[in-house]
């Protein structure tokens, strides 16, 4: 197996890129807690799945940690008040998305007391049953903090049902600029390990491996020390290379297993969770605290005080900037997330959500956009692609509106990691092409579904009309027959009468 993997690595060559990491000086600052802003805005949809349903009324007083919106449906997550205060509005505000479109949110006027509601931590966390752990994690609103924001309890249950044997913990943090996972591992390693052990119970896996990129030696040391007592948790340094934190790449690196393109990680017996999620699980089970804040990195050339901050969910980015010394010089671009996969924010009056791993205030030099030129077919993108795709061929097909051609050569396998556009000497916005094509593709699929259902409806209507016509005709025929029969009997009756007369 080991030899096969080595062979595979050589055959597949060097995928990915080595971007300048820009993690310092932010990574060297210890975690700081952000003061409470005057108002918080909690997006009802800040996870994968159905939006949460508000359970509070405007004017209602809430305590910190109190449920304010309940999960709806199988894949969803509840929301809790990040601090105590009064519900001031339930309405639309600008979503933290590059579109700048509004979405529903609950606004809270902060009272400044920050008083917790009554919490119910588990008395003996490690004696809980897997189902109980998943239930508490679901109730606490924990979602994947690596950026995917998939409800964690769903993944824990899925792991238990599909019989996984290996739990992978993603501490690679391969995005440049970001260091929130790094800081968390350095400062709260024991809590993360506790969360990992709870996840092991919940998923039924026997072993957990924590993958940390080797450019974070302090985090590796801290995690090794914290997990030394637990044989089932091992820390594995992985080479620093973007996108090491992408789940399929990390699974190959840590377990040697390759997830089939039409399957999920659980199908090969593994499941991946982020270190931040493990910490949130610990908080939810051992302290009974729902997810009301997250740790994020504030970084970029225009950030006044780059560093890692524990921020209440719903804090406006403008408040975050104001609390951290404002901006230095001119901000050219604001990015939520990392520079490789994050999205541009339309402005700063958008709230922090559960998936916000970082806020980057990029200055003019960092945000410089180059004019795209012709593709020179240098193949840099082919070498960089961690999925083994041909980005230049895909973009050429998309440019010619040949969506099927692009799908044929692997468009649907693209993870939008951005390696291709990062290395492109012609500055072609390849990822933009792929997003566009994927959007077109899903629109086409929707249209197809709509077309099919329209067709089905039309067919049903046709059948119904035919049936009705047939029934009408049959009824008419029956009536006619009855009438004829009645006339016949009447006639025979008359004849009989005549006979008798």
């Amino acid at each position: 197996m080991g030899f096969m993997n080595l062979f595979k690595t050589i055959l597949r060559g060097e995928w990915g890129v080595h971007p300048a990491d820009h993690k310092r000086p932010a990574a060297d600052q210890s975690l700081r807690k952000l003061p409470l802003p005057p108002r918080l805005h909690l997006m009802l949809s800040q996870h994968v799945g159905a939006a949460a349903r508000p359970t509070v009324l405007v004017g209602q007083r809430v305590k910190k940690g109190e449920l304010i919106a309940a999960a709806q449906g199988n894949i969803s997550a509840p929301l809790h008040a990040p601090t105590s205060g009064i519900i001031s509005a339930v309405g639309e505000i600008t979503a933290p998305h590059s579109s700048g479109l509004p979405a529903m949110a609950i606004s809270i006027d902060v009272d400044g007391e920050d008083a917790w509601c009554e919490l119910s931590p588990a008395a003996e966390p490690f004696a809980l049953s897997p189902a109980e752990i998943a239930e508490r994690v679901a109730a606490a609103g924990v979602v994947g903090l690596g950026g995917a924001t998939f409800p964690s309890s769903v993944k824990l249950n899925l792991g238990r049902r599909s019989g996984i044997d290996l739990l992978l913990i993603n501490g690679s943090e391969c995005e440049p600029y970001l260091s929130c996972d790094d800081r968390l591992m350095r400062e709260r390693a024991a809590d993360i390990v506790s969360g990992i052990r709870l996840m092991l119970i919940a998923t039924g896996a026997q072993e957990a491996r924590v993958g940390i990129e080797d450019n974070k030696p302090e985090a590796i040391a801290a995690m090794r020390e914290a997990s030394a007592r637990y044989g089932e948790v091992t820390v594995v340094p992985v080479p620093a290379r973007y996108p090491m934190g992408s789940d399929r790449q990390l699974i190959v690196e840590l377990s040697g297993r390759e997830v089939p393109s039409d399957a999920r990680a659980a199908d090969v017996g593994v499941i991946v969770h982020n270190v931040g999620t493990a910490y949130a699980v610990h908080e939810a089970i051992c302290l009974g605290r729902p997810m009301v804040s997250r740790i994020l990195t504030l970084n970029g050339g225009a950030a006044g005080m780059p560093g890692n901050y524990q921020v209440p969910l719903g804090t406006l980015v403008s408040d975050l900037i104001a609390f951290t010394g404002g901006v230095k010089g001119q901000v050219a671009k604001i990015v939520m997330g990392g520079p490789m996969m994050g999205s541009v924010l339309p402005h700063t009056r958008v709230p922090v959500v559960k998936g916000t791993s970082g806020i980057l205030l990029l200055d003019a030099r960092e945000a410089a956009a180059m004019e795209p030129e012709n593709c020179i077919r240098c193949g840099s993108c082919v070498k960089a692609c961690p999925m083994g795709l041909l980005p230049l061929e895909m973009s050429a097909r998309i440019r010619n509106d040949d969506l099927d051609g692009a799908v044929d050569i692997g468009l649907t396998d693209c993870i939008a990691c951005g390696c291709c556009a990062y290395v492109c000497p012609s500055h072609i916005p390849l990822v933009q092409y792929f997003y566009h094509a994927k959007g077109d593709l899903s629109a086409r699929q929707r249209n197809q579904l709509r077309g099919e259902s329209t067709k089905k409806l039309a067919q049903a209507r046709q059948e119904r009309l035919e049936r009705e016509a047939r029934e009408k005709a049959e009824a008419a025929a029956r009536r006619k027959a009855e009438r004829a029969a009645a006339q016949a009997t009447a006639a025979t009756g008359a004849v009989k009468q005549g006979e008798t007369v």
């Binding site: 190959v252 089939p260 659980a266 199908d267 090969v268 945000a367 020179i376 061929e393 939008a416 492109c424």
Partner: protein
């Protein structure tokens, strides 16, 4: 607050770039050519410098003209991305150093207009522009394209001075017969045709040592194989090219050469003669590695390179022309789309045919 209403352009991620650009790539390739070019100027004097200069100017001129005719608005930018300059430079490296001025003009026209712009400009051409021009010139004007001269280093008395060099270049001065010579490959081919085998024809001025240090008849790119190799190694080290193409080209040439030479040394040139003569090194490191006209994948480039090397050997050994690198490159250029169609990287999670991998039996599915 200035940040509250940013007019950020709705551009998708990534919001970072590695800093690579077309211009910097082309510039590095040109840097890699500098040592061999300067050495060539020293060996062949002023006429070779004039030829080099005019070929490049001709390429730039025809590029500008084509862009203007096509209505491209960014002429200056496209002109100075370095691609036309590199095409001209590479073409000049393959011409006889004392070729007359009109060879440079016609060559530039064929390379840029016919070889590149009619296909749609940079990145669109199927064939290597420099090789299209080289082959077209060779087939159309065989005489000036096969007149090689013996090296006359600039410090020797017989070397033409600036004015004299210009006269030679402009064709006012006939080339002295004493200076005319044949390249190694041309020489052996002629001699073999006359019935003189290699054991006798390969002596004196065509010894192996001369190939190594470059003091022999040939083009600028042929003379100093070692300097070309050094430039090629620089390209490898700086990541502009990968090892696949050059190694495959040289292997494709060396393997049949080794077999042939072992079987019959009197009729088949040795491996070292093949590798150090003609355009082998220039072709392997600078011509075959052209991004636009070679396959995208490492495995595809190996197929491509082996094809070039082998066909070069076949043409050199059995063909009518002494040198076959340019023909071989063009032939394999034509096959590049086919290679790219069949040789693709394996997608993670799929097999080579693009089918999703099987889900392991033991796990739930």
């Amino acid at each position: 607050m200035t940040t509250s209403s940013l007019a950020a352009q709705p551009i998708a991620s990534p919001h970072a770039h590695g800093g690579n650009s077309v211009t910097s790539t082309m510039f590095r390739v040109q840097m890699a050519l500098v040592p061999a070019t300067l050495y060539g100027f020293w060996l062949f004097g002023w006429p070779s410098f004039f030829l080099w200069l005019l070929t490049i100017l001709s390429c730039l001129g025809f590029e500008a003209l084509s862009l203007k005719l096509m209505g491209v608005t960014r002429i200056k930018r496209t002109l100075f991305d370095g691609s036309a300059l590199l095409t001209g430079w590479l073409l000049a490296m393959t011409l006889p150093p004392w070729a007359p001025w009109w060879v440079a003009i016609v060559g530039g026209f064929i390379a840029i207009v016919i070889g590149k712009q009619v296909f749609g400009g940079v990145g669109q051409n199927v064939f290597n522009p420099a090789m299209v021009a080289r082959v077209a010139l060779l087939v159309s004007f065989p005489l000036p394209l096969t007149q090689w001269i013996m090296p006359l280093p600039l410090n020797t008395v017989a070397a033409p001075d600036f004015i004299h060099g210009l006269q030679i270049f402009l064709g006012n001065q006939a080339m002295p017969d004493a200076m005319a010579s044949a390249s190694l490959l041309g020489h052996t081919k002629t001699e073999l045709a006359r019935g003189i085998d290699l054991l006798h024809s390969l002596s004196g001025e065509h010894g192996a040592l001369f190939s190594l240090i470059g003091t022999r008849a040939g083009s600028l790119g042929e003379s100093a194989s070692l300097l070309i190799l050094a430039g090629g190694l620089y390209l490898l080290a700086s990541g502009i090219i990968t090892w696949h193409t050059p190694v495959a080209v040289l292997a494709g040439l060396a393997i049949p050469a080794a077999i042939g030479h072992a079987v019959d040394p009197a009729h088949y040139l040795s491996v070292s003669s093949h590798l150090l003569s003609g355009a082998a090194m220039l072709g392997a490191f600078f011509i075959a590695t052209d991004y636009v006209t070679s396959p995208n994948t490492g495995r595809g480039q190996i197929v491509f390179g082996l094809g070039i090397g082998f066909m070069t050997w076949v043409i050199r050994t059995y063909g009518g022309y002494p040198e076959g690198m340019a023909f071989a490159v063009l032939l394999m250029n034509a096959l590049t789309p086919v290679i790219d169609r069949f040789v693709k990287p394996r997608i993670l999670g799929r097999d080579r045919k693009g089918k999703p991998l099987d889900i392991p039996e033991s796990k739930g599915a």
